[in-house]
Amino acid sequence: MSGPVTLSTKRSSFWPVVVLCLGLALVPVVAVLTKQGHWVSLTTQMMILALAALSLDLILGIGGLLSFGHAAFIGLGAYTTGILIQEGKGDLLIALPMSLAVSGLFAFVTGIVALRTRGVVFIMITLAFGQMAFFAAQALYAYGGDDGLTLDGRSTVFGLKLLSNKIVFYYLTFACLAGCLLLLQRLSRARFGRVLLGARDNAVRMETLGYDVFRVRLMAYVLSGMIAGLAGFLLANHTEFVSPAYAAWQRSGDLIFMVIIGGVGSLWGAVGGALTYLLLEEGLSGLTEHWKVIFGPLIILFVLLTHGGIDGVVARVRDRLAGGRHD
């Protein structure tokens, strides 16, 4: 998965990140002022999926590992939270660490197997593990099985029902997304990220330099799984519902598309890509029942025409502006 994805560590993404974060921070304000309250909930959902796409970009973009089972981590986080809420132990202080632990453990165990493989085999193994999680969720008859499970409410915080306020929940989600974005950007430019990127370009070379490539990839895989698990925790609370569909392979495919639209390996692009993807889906599905007929070709055209997704477009615009100033 290298190819056009060069220099992702060099390119500054300061302004795109600022614009993205400011924009998202202002959504509830604008929505309330214009009396379009449903946008708060809609944007919360989009940010949750953007968080999952961001976590995928760490291993796909920087690590070069195309995981096709990433939705499983969302599902695990969501089910852990949902089951705890149903069992009366849904407080954030229990549900959040448990969701992270379960998704992280799943990433660790499946990563030990999957990361010994490369290329198509890796894609197929991650898909298989993802489907295992999906069918396991379907088999949870005590918790709704096929139909999913409607929850009694959201997680409490120290026993308080803070998260039922949708503005509070919006900003919690926003903080998770912005925090993880900054964390991963920092990480990708630090020593760890350099090794992960080096292994993407030339794994044998990294081993002859003395790096344990498997261990580094496993660490990234677990971190990525935990962030997707965090997205699952948020999703279960947001929708007050959990369903096997959260872990379905179609959702894993959506996440890959979001990352590609945004520009593989740019991190902020994954967030922008997810928002674009979901806004487009939202807009088109309001127009016609057969929106997928338009959506599919549109996505393909977008990928073909932009060369490097949203991040690539922004970089070229910036280069042109910078070039103009020097002339």
């Binding site: 990480l187 760890f192 080096g198 081993e207 002859t208």
Partner: protein, 255 residues
């Protein structure tokens, strides 16, 4: 004054064997490299030179025999373990990280031996702990002025020099050089020969090379590999005048 420790081989290979199916690519190879010397390994194409280097570096596991590094058996050690002991290598086909700059490539090699090779927080681009030694290594190999160039865009000769800088960054005791002059013009290989000559004495090197001019001007000791076994070992002159070697490989026009 002869200190026996200095003359003990730092790298010793004993009875190494490797087959791919029915093909015996390494057939009982034994050789040793002493500290600070350049031991050249020559032989016709298909003699099994690269396969031998791969086994010493740990990319391939031998079927039988032993590899000793400073007296320690490393036959079963992994590639990263060997690298950390002080065994560095370059590749026959240029092997760098193309999307990083020249400086970034060497800094990444310096980082492998740093205190916290996997730090999560501090940005590497401004990390002088890595970048200063990396810059001075680039200066050593003559790439000081090319530090900011993306490695994928360097010329062939520059990439080969970059590989050597990366190997030196590991502070190795032994460097395995797999055809470092391959694909180079006369001028470039002359420059690389000078570089290797300046490193001789500080590092022990096992040099696989087809460029006979380079081999005979650099090597303290030459081994000739034919059909997976060592036909002769000796000084450049001894090997040059060995009738078996003449018949098998060099041909009279090489002299």
């Amino acid at each position: 004054m002869i200190d026996p420790a200095v003359h003990r081989p730092v790298l010793q290979i004993e009875g190494l064997e490797k087959s791919f199916g029915a093909l015996r690519v390494t057939n009982g190879v034994s050789l040793s490299v002493k500290p600070g010397e350049i031991h050249a390994l020559i032989g016709p194409n298909g003699a099994g030179k690269t396969t031998l280097i791969h086994q010493i570096a740990g990319l391939l596991k031998p079927d039988a025999g032993h590899i000793l590094f400073d007296g320690q058996d490393i036959t079963a050690a992994s590639m990263p373990q060997r690298a950390r002991l002080g065994l560095a290598r370059t590749f026959q086909i240029t092997s760098i990280i193309p999307s990083l700059t020249a400086l970034g490539n060497v800094a990444l090699a310096v980082q492998a031996g740093a205190d916290k090779p996997l730090g999560f927080w501090k940005p590497v681009d401004s990390d002088d702990v890595l970048n200063k030694p990396a810059q001075s290594l680039l200066d050593t190999v003559g790439l000081g002025g090319r530090a900011g160039v993306v490695a994928g865009q360097l010329s062939h000769g520059e990439k080969r020099a970059l590989e050597i800088a990366m190997a030196l960054a590991l502070k190795p005791r032994v460097i395995l050089l797999d055809e470092p002059m391959a694909g180079m013009g006369h001028e470039e290989s002359a420059r690389l020969t000078d570089l290797l000559k300046s490193l001789k004495g500080t590092y022990a090197m096992l040099l696989v090379e087809h460029d006979m001019e380079a081999v005979f001007s650099l090597a303290d000791c030459v081994s000739v590999l034919v059909d997976g076994h060592v036909l002769a070992t000796g000084t450049a002159d001894q090997v040059r005048n060995d009738p078996q070697v003449r018949a098998a490989y060099l041909g009279d026009e090489a002299f």
